[in-house]
């Protein structure tokens, strides 16, 4: 490893070293607020480093890219981590989290996500993925007093461990078939002409199981609602945005190596996308817990992203990246609102908790309504532009049926998104006061809201930037 490599790793180093530093400081200096805000600073610094520092090399040790694509996602996940931390300031104090450890884990998770998004090798892929998976094992069960948190942690842990096994086996098989871990050579190596070689395809199958698990595609999605429900809201926000987005970011790189004709893989992806949209939508209909509803909605959304992934090409990739950003802003915002409403009585999760709170907490509930509308893909929000991009990519590459399925799913999904809006604003006014939320939460929510609305109205600059990632 050369100095240039290290320089290229600067943002990751900021995150990782910052994480370690906070962990150490936290042991002697347990001021939660200060620690978490420092963590925010570190994440922002990392984002700034990634954004403004052009690294001297394009690739680090054959494991990670440091090009525009990688830097983009590093910025994104660092900012997501910063937002998550901002959302956690009051939350952590309220629930008595150990500030240093919590912050350190979030930062470390962000480093893992950035690495995963940047991976140019199966080894990098594995390490990045595992880095933040391990973090989540802890973060999900971070609230020690909460039995549901422990249960969620356990479920994620066991399934995650099994998934790790599958991933490792898949990688091993691909390596067996191709003789290299490096992308895109590994992908080229497992194909012979238009067809996959059997072992390579088997390896891909294993990888798909893991990817399906990580991004919650049906039938590997079953953990999602439980884990979202049990995990602390900011963590669920990070889990639903960062971990999934990073996997997709890596997947774009993975698939880019495959030959244009992927007829062996396409039917699988097609089916995964379709049943994720259908099953996710239907399952969300009867939920009465907002976090579980958001979990199923994320299943549907990942189904949408799969459409774009299938479509491939420049427009597919662009659609994925934009969608991930839009989805991250809206989903993080939604979980953020839940976090900000959390008081001594715990998180408001069930629909009953949301009944009639709209006019008592106008800003946050209006924001939640807008986030939900964005998730539903209604203009003028980022979600609409994102969905437009996906359907556009789908139509362009001839996945009309999937597009229509997606349309139907988003139509039905309106019901459960609107239901929350209805509960908040259109029923009687409740008398219960939820937590008023701190300034950090409000600023985080404002940022998310701003992103959702601005990207809905003026998506041009971001779209141009994303287009540059793929050129």
């Amino acid at each position: 490893m050369t100095g240039d490599d290290l320089a290229a790793l600067l943002p990751i180093l900021v995150l990782a070293l910052g994480s370690v530093g906070l962990l150490l400081i936290g042991a002697w200096f347990p001021r939660r607020r200060t620690l978490i805000l420092t963590g925010v600073g570190i994440a922002v610094a990392a984002a700034a480093a990634a954004a403004f520092y052009t690294p001297p090399v394009e690739e680090i040790s054959g494991l990670y890219g440091s090009g525009l694509y990688a830097r983009f996602f590093t910025v994104l996940w660092s900012l997501v981590a910063a937002l998550v931390l901002l959302l956690s300031v009051r939350y952590a104090v309220e629930l008595g989290f150990a500030g240093g450890e919590y912050t350190a884990l979030v930062l470390f998770g962000a480093a893992g996500m950035s690495l995963l998004s940047a991976s140019t090798s199966l080894v990098g892929f594995f390490l990045g993925l595992e880095a933040f998976t391990l973090v989540f094992y802890i973060l999900i069960a971070f609230h020690k007093g909460d039995p549901l948190g422990a249960e969620a942690g356990l479920k994620y842990l066991v399934l995650g461990a099994v998934a790790t096994g599958f991933m490792a086996f898949g990688i091993a098989l691909i390596y067996t078939a191709s003789g290299t871990f490096h992308l895109p050579e590994a992908m080229e190596g497992i194909t012979a002409g238009a067809r996959f070689r059997p072992i390579g395809l088997l390896g891909w199958g294993m990888l798909l199981v893991v990817i399906g698990f990580k991004v919650s595609l049906v039938p590997f999605h079953l953990w999602t609602p439980d884990v979202y429900q049990g995990a602390p809201a900011p963590v669920a926000g990070l889990l639903s945005t960062g971990s999934k987005g990073a996997v997709f970011a890596a997947l774009v790189t993975l698939l880019a190596g495959l030959p244009a004709d992927r007829s062996d893989l396409i039917p699988i992806l097609w089916v995964l996308s379709a049943i994720s949209m259908v099953v996710g939508t239907l399952s969300a209909l009867r939920q009465d817990n907002v976090k579980r509803m958001l979990a199923y909605s994320s299943v549907v959304h990942m189904g949408y992203v799969m459409i774009a992934l299938l479509s491939g090409g420049a427009s597919g990739g662009r659609a994925i990246v934009f969608y991930l950003v839009a989805y991250a802003a809206a989903n993080l915002g939604a979980f953020g609102v839940i976090a900000s409403l959390t008081g001594a009585g715990g998180e408001p999760q069930t629909y009953d908790d949301f009944q009639g709170i709209g006019w008592r907490n106008p800003f946050r509930c209006a924001a939640l309504a807008i986030f939900l509308l964005s998730l539903a893909g209604i203009p003028p929000t980022a979600g609409f532009i994102g969905k437009f991009g996906i359907f556009y990519a789908a139509m362009e590459s001839g996945y009309g049926v999937l597009a229509i399925l997606g349309i139907l799913a988003s139509l039905i999904s309106l019901y459960y998104y609107l239901r929350v809006v209805v509960l908040m604003f259109m029923t009687f006014e409740c008398e219960v006061d939820h937590a008023r939320g701190g300034i950090s939460e409000h600023s985080a929510l404002t940022i998310c809201l701003g992103a959702v609305v601005i990207l809905g109205i003026l998506p041009g600059p971001l779209l141009d930037l994303i287009a540059a990632l793929f050129s």
Binding site: V123, F126, L127, E130, L134, Y137, I138, A141, P147, L148, A150, E151, A152, G153, L154, K155, L157, V158, A161, V162, T164, G165, F166, A168, F169, I171, A172, L173, Y175, T176, G179, T180, F181, I199, P225, D226, Q229, G230, R286, Q287, R292
Partner: protein, 101 residues
């Protein structure tokens, strides 16, 4: 290579699926974790075999990574097991079903 790759693959594949079967069949958390461990070791075997097949060290390096990672995972798992056991006095995996639907 003294052992053909196909044999290695067959063996490690079998081992992998035995591990997975263990995960599926066992109810006790410890046993499930052991199953995962078996799966991971099968992977290690495959990697070493492939590494030999291609005459590279990449695979073996990856095995080292894998082992490190596994140990981290195991430590977290065990911590979790202890934590859960202390909370609910059971290690039955299916006993933890407070959330569903």
């Amino acid at each position: 290579m003294i052992v053909p790759m196909s044999h290695i693959l067959a063996f490690s594949g079998a081992m992998f699926f035995m591990g997975f079967a263990c995960v599926l069949a066992q109810r006790n958390l410890i046993m499930i974790l052991i199953g995962v461990e078996v799966m991971l070791n099968a992977v290690g075997l495959t990697l070493v075999g492939a590494s030999a097949l291609w005459g590279q060290v990449d695979g073996q390096i990856f095995v080292i990574f894998l082992m490190a990672m596994t140990s981290a995972e195991v430590s977290i798992s065990l911590a979790m097991v202890v934590y859960l056991h202390r909370r609910s006095k059971t290690l039955e995996a299916d006993a933890f079903s407070g959330m569903k639907g």
